[in-house]
Amino acid sequence: MTDVQRVDLLDPAEVARLGGIEIVAQGVVEGFLAGIHRSPFRGFSVEFTEHRAYQPGDEPRYLDWKMLARSDRLFVKQFEEETNLRAMILVDASRSMAWRGAPARLTKRAYGDRLAAALALILLRQRDATGLITFDEAVREVVPARVKSGQWARLVRGLVRTPDGRGTAAQAALVRLTALLARRGLVVLVSDLLFDRDLALTALRYLRHRGHQVIVVHLMDPAEAELSGPPEVRFRDPESAASVVVRPRELARVYGETVRREIAAWRTACRRHGIAYHHVLTDMPFGMALRLLA
């Protein structure tokens, strides 16, 4: 019962009605952090630099027990290299992301924006330098990774400023990313992956080769996973304007198999190259999606 009242576990569309990206992301993050017992993302260094107030989600092992004994307040120890984690979140803003299968659901773009904002907030709260790249067929918005205050607001503005694009060319954004991430870091790609898989994998593999931790969040509307519709319909690709006339009932089974095969192909290819792959439907609560990423 407690879980149901948590914002991060509510239906994403309902949560989206609470307000803008900031409010939603903060609510989701609060709920998400309240439900776990350690920080989801950790740095690599062990050199102590300072204390900071304990926040829900911080690992108990980093609590400074002596400070607790002296001041009766909770502090966690910060380490030198923790802020060395540089995370870049890549959000696909192509035309296909602006689609939803039902009016009651969020578009993939809206879902991805909120998920990205929540993820960024978590990272920044851990004082990880976090940046953002939005792209469609070209890179649209770039917010370099920083940890200073106001970074999250910049990231959110970057998301909001990015309009719905047209085509998709992820490899351009990934190439651009390699220039922005000089040191090893975390790369999170939020996309519906409706682009050339081989080209995108080449770029991701390159990132991985440079030592980055890569996470692919494959967003998909439930209506994209299972084909349905009128007896006969002309489906049009919003990006390429190509169209095809199909009878959904006839093709549903094979289509479902094709989608599952595509997901499996992405998963296999990513695993082969040490890339984390997560398939997320847009009706999945944000908390659960974040849990996948943790």
Binding site: D192, L227, F235, R236, E239, R249, V254, Y255, T258
Partner: protein, 577 residues
Amino acid sequence: MTFLHPLALVGLVAAAIPALLHLLERRVPPEAEFPPLRYLSEAERQSARRLKLRHLLLLILRTLLIVLIVLAAARPLVPARTGGATVHAPTALALILDNSASSGVVVDGRPVLDRLRAVARGSLARTAAGDRVWLILADGVARGGVRERLLATVDSAAVSPRRLDLSAAVQQAARLVDAEPLPAREVHVVSDLQRTALGAGRADVPRGVRVLALAPPPQPPANRGIGTARVTDGAVTVGVVGTPGAAAAAVTVRVRGREVGRALAAPGAAVSIALPPLAPGWWVGEATLDPDELRADDRRVFAWRVAPPARVTAPQDAGPFVAAALAVLAEGGKVGIAGAGGAGGARGPDVSIGERPDGRGGARTNVVIPPVDAALVGQVNRALAAGGGPWRFGGPGTPGPIAASSVAGIDGIQVTRRYRLEGGEDSTVVARVNGEPWLVRDPGEGRVLLLGSRLDTAWTALPAAPAFVPFVDALVNRLARGEAPVAEAEGAPRVEFRTRGTDTVGATVYGIDARESELAAAPPALVRRLLGAEVLEDPAFAAARFAGTGRADGSWLLLALALVVAVVELGVATLTR
């Protein structure tokens, strides 16, 4: 293949509906955005061949389904084994129900007509809406109409006094059905198949017309019937007909309800029963037999007229023998002598006997004998011609015996001298000598009888014969005055009189045809030969009718097939998605 409702085949146009729907549906599909089109295209590429096959299969199945349903609605008729057919191809059927007088015979306590009616009902009951049906009864009239009306006619058909000529009826029926443009033509003969009902010649049955005849009962009962009853010379001659060899039966004659005579007679024999002297006028009598299995021929009525004695005048040139005979007849009250007292009274003569027509005496009929003087023959002939008659005296004829069919007792009596009679029609000859007319009757207004010889022993031996007085009686009372015409006709036993003004001038006696009394059935081989019919017992007849075109309704088979196709279609539509 034929169909009971061929108009329903128009519905085959509906077979194009699946293809049309397929085409029309493809024209304007709704449009929608769908980003993962690459997945869709890939799925379609993988399924293209399967879907094409599925579409083709569904199109074929749906078209087939409609075709099967439409064909079933048209009620196709498929060949069926004999007896198993529930329906038949449209058939022209002529049903001959022989309800002639002989069908009233009682066999095993039941009239034969009951059995015939039941079989006829069976034939009519099997007819369908597409059939053309006629019913022919003993009256020979072909009745067309709907089944219910004909069934009612069969139910109400009683034993008819008419005789049915089966050969003529079958020929008529065959022509009727042959003229109908229907796939099948049948004639059902439901009759007792009397031998006497078949004509001598073969019935002309066109090819393609099937004639079925119901086999008669195996052993008809022995029968006796009154074949004829005619009054001549104060007696009624009753001819008994029926099964040859049957025992004699008592014939009873009644006049106005009163029995006047009785005699025994077997089939093929005739008895003559004298009638009592009756007052002048028309009389009706009846001859009856004791009742047997066929009642219709056990009674026959007859009628005759008792004429008043003719008033005769005979000039001296008629000869002494004529005068003597007339005197004898006058004494017996059978003639009256005109101009004398007694029976003739003061009225003019009815008959004049002499050497020339009596132009002055006003006699209604003249019996003209040749003049003694041969030189007067021409004068007589001119007088005859003036009277308008065609007959005249010719040259002398050769001697010979008299041959007469309608005057009793004078056959064989020698004629030694005579004139040939010439000029008239053969039908008016009453008696002949050596094949030439000897006694003729001119039927004109001025009625004249011409004798080729004088009634004198020098001309003929007739005056010396016992038959002379009866001959003169017949001459003046019957031949000269004309016999009252009594016609005979087929019908229920009764007498109808013909009148002219207040006078009754004739009568028609109705009775059944004497051939109806002979109940023996024709052998099947003869029926086959004369009628071209298959002779079948009841069960075989029931199975064989319409069997030539026996068809079963194939719609159930088609509906079952349509059901199978529908199930297959459902399976293809659901399982191959």
